[in-house]
Amino acid sequence: MLSVTGISKTFPGVRALDGVDFTARAGEVHALIGENGAGKSTLIKVLTGVYRPDPGEGTMTYDGAEAAFATPLEAQHAGISTIYQEVNLVPLMSVARNLFLGREPRGRLGLIDFRRMHRAADEALRELGVRVDVRRPLRELGVGAQQMVALARAVSVDARVVIMDEPTSSLEPREVRTLFGVIRMLRERGIAVVYVSHRLEELYEICDAVTVLRDGRAVHTGPMAGLDRLRLVSLMLGREAGEVREEGRTEFTGGHQVTDAEPVLSARKLTARHHLREVGLDVRPGEVVGLGGLLGSGRSGTAKAIAGALPLDSGTVVVAGAPVRTGSTPAAIRAGISLLPEDRKAEGIVPGLSVRENIALAALPRLSRFGLVDEARIDRIVDTFIQRLRIKAAGPHQKVGELSGGNQQKVLLARWLAMHPKVLLLDEPTRGIDVGAKAEVQRLIDELAADGLGVLLISSDMEELIEGADRIVVLKDGAVVEELTGEAVTADRLMRAIATAPVGGPA
């Protein structure tokens, strides 16, 4: 029905898609999976006309003829509908208006026939098992119901290809059942469905075929049935089971001096709707605890919840024996929790400010008296960190934006260390920085742990996780599925844990 052959898409500095083949067949549900940055979103955007593929490389065929969509509208008119991860509708407009935007039933004089539109909207939603007042503004509906409206819109346009980008990420289990019912109905009608999700159980339940993307390439295409879970995970992560080299790839020395002391951080039953389900973990002083799992398994959510950046429905966080108010970053910082966020550009550094200012930023309240900043003290602290973390800068007054990624990361680390944290949460601390800097950051983590800090490490780099962590807590669908300790901290066990059957339903 819809297929691409040898298609590529290059952004400045990045080759997001590199000669990808992909075919969606009529009456087939085709899973498209891959880790962060594998190229799924880019491929979807190429298929739906949001992006144009690199010219001269590869072809796209639709319904037997060569095709190229210049705009999303063109793709839609051709019969390709898309449901995006975040609901893309107009919240202030009514449900019915959203459903029918651009194809409203019209009566005499070309005026919209609202009675007919409301009836049709009601029927379309009822068919999907949703009963709402279609005249109400969309924003009054829950996210799940909004998602169903988007779905109703997608299937009611006589679509021949329906692309779903993580449609279940905000749905309740009951709504997921409804969604799967609709997908089966679409399949019976001979519609080609492309299904993107991180939840392996869903893929096995609903999909007929699978294509795995990694680093912009399609590394595997084949039927879903008979594909071993472990093999699927290793395809996504890019490691054959047992192929992971256990030694020497990272700067970690392995094994830290972990005392049997009381945990410095103790999180219990962290629960946040659609994110986490009763996640609990301990970190002792001097210990590096890794968080394992696939993209979307709740790793970053756990770190954010502990740091107060993700509102919790329930659960407790205790630091050095004292409970911390959850859902408040200032409270977490005061308690001694520091989070190095995943996206350092958006959530961390201020590129226009100097190294010195960036380091001092969070600690300013501590370093000032009566609102006046103690400049000499800041100079001392900044100098100490520049030396200790080996930050390569022309001087403390160089702008952070001019530094390399690795040194930016060190500046961020220094900022949080200046707060004298007890627990350090590191979310992908070495992503996107060069090999040399990576090694230095890894060595630093070791040193910090040796100094008695509790470290929680999130990393998609499996070697980093296995060699860096003393223990690995494995997450899946927002819940802890296994904890690997001591000898069990191996790539094989980690992948097995990720691939095993779930506990209960999705979060």
Partner: protein, 342 residues
């Protein structure tokens, strides 16, 4: 949209649709009611207070005057409402109003058709230009229309020899009658404004283009992904705004029987105030034309009352209008937050 639609405004149907839309929870209904009818209630109260306090307020002459001066602002606010619902702003309308008046007065020597079409063509073209720059070049509406405001003012000065030349309209022409004439005792411009509002409301609520206007203002990215012609919609609303400003200027010139060059400065802000007071969200995506009409009337009643209190400096009129606007925007924000929470 054909001319047949204009002749058949079917206002009842529009009203029924609006009433049907708000039927949800009490808190939501309350905030919707306040947003839609707050200005109307205030207007009624203001009129009552004025009628009781000032005897001359309810005289036919005074009402006629208020209705006429409201009519010109109302036509400008009509176009402005479309622009603001898309989440944009048009600062050029005051200059276009003045330019339209001068062009109409100059053109009236060649007949009514020229007197009407010339300002419409020029102001419409500037509106198209605004729209293209905003939609295709993705420039900020504020800056683009600010440039158009200055440019149109310059054009006006060029046409009138630095403002020294005032073109007059022959009182005996049909064009002059468009401004000066009366129908059933009410000035012709008032009728024109009313018909345009009825037609505009129909377009906004009951046509596909109207839905696109709301969608673009409500969530531009989503609208684009749903296949709405975002750029075309934006260009259309700025064109509409330019046309409305030009027409209002022409009618005003017909009323004054001359093209007065000093008019229209600050009118863009007056129009924006009227639209916002009328319940249209400045952030786009929500609003309705009847509110803008009420907003215009409210501003004009306040003006009129303060003019009548001889002891009060007329400068206070702007203080009161400003205070009103502030209250409305604060209330909107507050109600909006409440509405989202439920």
């Amino acid at each position: 949209m054909t001319t047949a639609d204009v002749r058949d405004p079917a206002p009842q149907a529009v009203g029924a649709e609006e009433a049907a839309v708000d039927a949800p929870r009490p808190a939501e209904r309350l905030s919707a009611l306040a947003q839609q009818h707050g200005a109307l209630v205030t207007l009624v109260l203001a009129v009552l207070a004025a009628a009781l306090t000032f005897e001359p307020f309810l005289t036919a002459d005074n009402l006629q005057n208020m209705a006429l001066s409201s009519a010109f602002l109302a036509v400008v606010a009509l176009g402005m409402t479309f622009v603001i619902v898309t989440g944009g702003i048009d600062l050029s309308v005051g200059s276009l109003f003045a330019l339209g008046g001068v062009l109409a007065a100059w053109g009236s020597q060649y007949g009514t058709a020229v007197a009407l079409l010339l300002p419409l063509a020029v102001c419409g073209l500037i509106g198209v230009l605004n729209g293209v720059l905003i939609a295709r070049s993705r420039l900020a509406p504020f800056i683009v229309t600010l440039a158009a405001m200055l440019g149109a003012r310059g054009l006006l000065l060029a046409v009138t020899d630095e403002g020294s030349q005032t073109y007059l309209v022959d009182k005996s022409t049909f064009f002059a009658a468009l401004g000066q004439g009366r129908l059933l005792g009410v000035g012709v411009p008032v009728w024109i404004a009313l018909v345009l509002f009825a037609a505009g409301a129909l377009v906004l609520r009951r046509t596909r283009f109207g839905q696109y206007v709301y969608a673009v203002g409500g969530n531009e990215d989503a609208a684009a992904l749903m296949g709405a012609p975002v750029a075309r919609t934006k260009i259309t609303v700025y064109t509409l705004s330019g046309l409305c400003a030009g027409l209002a200027g022409a009618l005003n010139a017909a009323w004054l029987v001359s093209g007065v060059t000093i008019l229209g400065s600050g009118m863009e802000l007056e129009a924006i105030s009227a639209v916002v007071i009328g319940g249209t969200l400045l952030t786009g995506g929500s609003g309705f034309l009847s509110g803008s009409l009420v907003g215009v009337l409210l501003l004009k009643v306040i003006q009129n009352v303060i003019n009548q209190i001889g002891s009060l400096d007329s400068a206070y009129q702007q203080v009161v209008s400003g205070a009103f606007l502030a209250v409305v925007v604060i209330a909107q924000t507050w109600l909006g937050r409440r509405g989202r929470r439920t």
